[in-house]
Amino acid sequence: MKTKNEFLYFALRNGRLKVGFCILSFFILLAIFGPLFAKHGPLDYAGPGYHPPSKEFWLGTTTFGQDVFSQTVYGLRSTFLVGLVAGGLATFLGILIGFIAGYRGGMVDELLNMLTNIVTVIPTLALLLIVAAYLPYRGILVQSIFIGLTSWPWAARAIRAQTFTLRTRDFVDLARITGMRPLKIIFGEIAPNMMSYLFMTFILQFGGAILAAVTLDFIGLGPTQGISLGLMMQNAVLWSAIQLGMWWWLIPPGVAITAIVGALYFMNTGLDEVFNPKLREL
């Protein structure tokens, strides 16, 4: 009970955590409530094209008269969905493989290590390339799953190393002597001791997945239906928004992504300082 209060005390005092959390909350609220304020659908040809921000179109319109504000807020929803699904899947796989490899050791560790090394080398882009080439209709979910399936290796490595050091501690030995089953030891004894670490892994995977999705959308490996911030950028470049100086079309999607991912990274550093007494500023 006391330790929880201590963490809360440092969390509330930590500037980085607070700033990151506020920015993230703003964009989450925008993703939830923004579409309610959007007067037009994200893909509707709603008004005159090539229109700078005005009262009617808060962030202006695209070349075809689509509402940039509407595209941004709907795109935010896709972004958070990718972060949640892909980041969640990658964290789950990383934890699973890291725990098993670190706890069992020996041959199992050797094999899982080999798998980790192989997946490390194969970029998400390459795998999605092949899938995208032959799957004509792709949703955001398919994209998220493939990002999740390829971005777990660093998490698995880090969690394996942590499990390795915890495995030989007295309290784990004690649990083993009393005949606890391995799964129970992992989740009852080892996992609680690295909860903060696992949470921070999820935050980093969340941000990483968002960036990966934007890049893939931009190259043309994104979802074929719907709207996302990456697709907005792809369309903007495709229809010469740079050459035409349509800054209102170019800036919003990138600002949103940079702010969200930056806020996540910032929160991560803040949390690190909260959980790790050595890092607290003196």
């Binding site: 194969i122 970029p123 032959y134 990483g208 931009f218 470049v237 990138g254």
Partner: protein, 330 residues
């Protein structure tokens, strides 16, 4: 050390075989016949369709047994035969890609190396310096959170359109003939600087943050405390901390390679830079299967080679691996 190398080589070979197998497998086991898919785009004249169908059947060898198809695929690979790019005027895929490759390397190698070296140095310098740290850290966070191509878009818009001082399309002007003269090199550099900058800046932020955090960890470690208590100067302590902090950064670089390559490809699309990224975008939009397959292989082989180089660098820097004869690795 021998055992260490042997294990690494086995892993890399396995990865390569795995990648080639995926490359071979997917068109064959995906729903729909790739040949009919392809032919639907050439349906205008029946005689051309037949010629292409014959050629495709020969390449895919779909009438043979899967094992023989697989062997034939490997044999083609070793001859450097990756099929023909149907989109880029029927040139062999290998030639199309090798023509684009120098542009990728010209962007990636300087961007990775410079950002890595400067980012590490500057990150180590800023660590535990309260005022400086407070100013630069937020900037680095924004940089590392920026999608590569968005920074590219902003730079292109600002320098190319708003200020109109730098070109934003292609690797050199159309009027130029590539050659080793100053006019061409200057023209090339003017086209190169913006895509390079977007790659450099984003990575720089990441390395600087990573190094700053590592140095703070190391300065809290027992050996640093011990050195301090002996009265060693802070410069000396920091030098030791840097040596220890640089190793995880190399592992970090290896883990980041896939992301960096993807970012570079996207940045090339922004600037119509004629590297593999640009090629890839065209190939995807035109469903050019062979070209996509070829790009896939080249990207994986590139990342694989970079990993091997980093492994060797790691061994050269880490005395623990260099000096263990048995090759015990953690």
């Amino acid at each position: 050390m021998g055992a260490y190398f042997r294990r690494k080589i086995i892993i890399y070979l396995l990865t390569f075989v795995f990648a080639v197998t995926i490359d071979w497998m997917i068109p064959r086991f995906m729903p729909g016949n790739p040949i009919t898919n392809l032919l639907s785009r050439f349906s205008t004249r029946s005689d051309t369709t037949e010629v292409i169908a014959g050629y495709l059947n020969e390449i895919y060898g779909l009438d043979k047994s899967p094992l023989r198809q697989y062997v034939a695929f490997w044999a083609g690979l070793f001859r450097g035969d990756l099929g023909v790019s149907l989109y880029v005027t029927g040139a062999p895929v290998t030639r199309v890609i090798t023509r684009a490759l120098p542009f990728d390397l010209a962007l990636l190698i300087p961007a990775i190396m410079l950002s890595y070296i400067l980012g590490n140095k500057f990150g180590a310098f800023a660590a535990r310096k309260k005022k400086l740290d407070g100013i630069v850290l937020p900037i680095w966070y924004v940089l590392t959170a920026t999608p590569y191509m968005w920074l590219g878009i902003l730079l292109a818009w600002f320098f190319g359109v708003a200020l109109d001082v730098l070109p934003i399309a292609g690797a050199y002007s159309f009027s130029m003939v590539p050659g080793w003269n100053w006019a061409f090199i200057w023209d090339f550099l003017k086209h190169w600087i913006l895509p390079f900058s977007s790659l450099f800046l984003v990575q720089f932020g990441g390395w600087a943050i990573g190094m700053r955090n590592m140095i703070i960890y190391e300065l809290e470690a027992e050996y640093s405390r011990y050195l301090e208590s002996l009265g060693a100067s802070s410069t000396l302590v920091r030098r030791y901390a840097y040596k220890n902090a640089v190793l995880p950064q190399i592992t970090g670089l290896a883990l980041q390679l896939g992301v960096i390559v993807a970012g570079a490809l996207a940045t090339e699309v922004v600037f119509s830079y004629p590297g593999i990224g640009h090629l890839l975008k065209e190939a995807i939009m035109n469903q050019d299967y062979f070209l996509i397959q070829g790009c896939f292989l080249f990207i994986i082989v590139g990342v694989l080679l970079a990993n091997i180089i980093l492994d060797i660098a790691y061994i050269m820097i880490d005395p623990r691996i260099r000096h263990t004869a048995g090759g015990e690795t953690v």
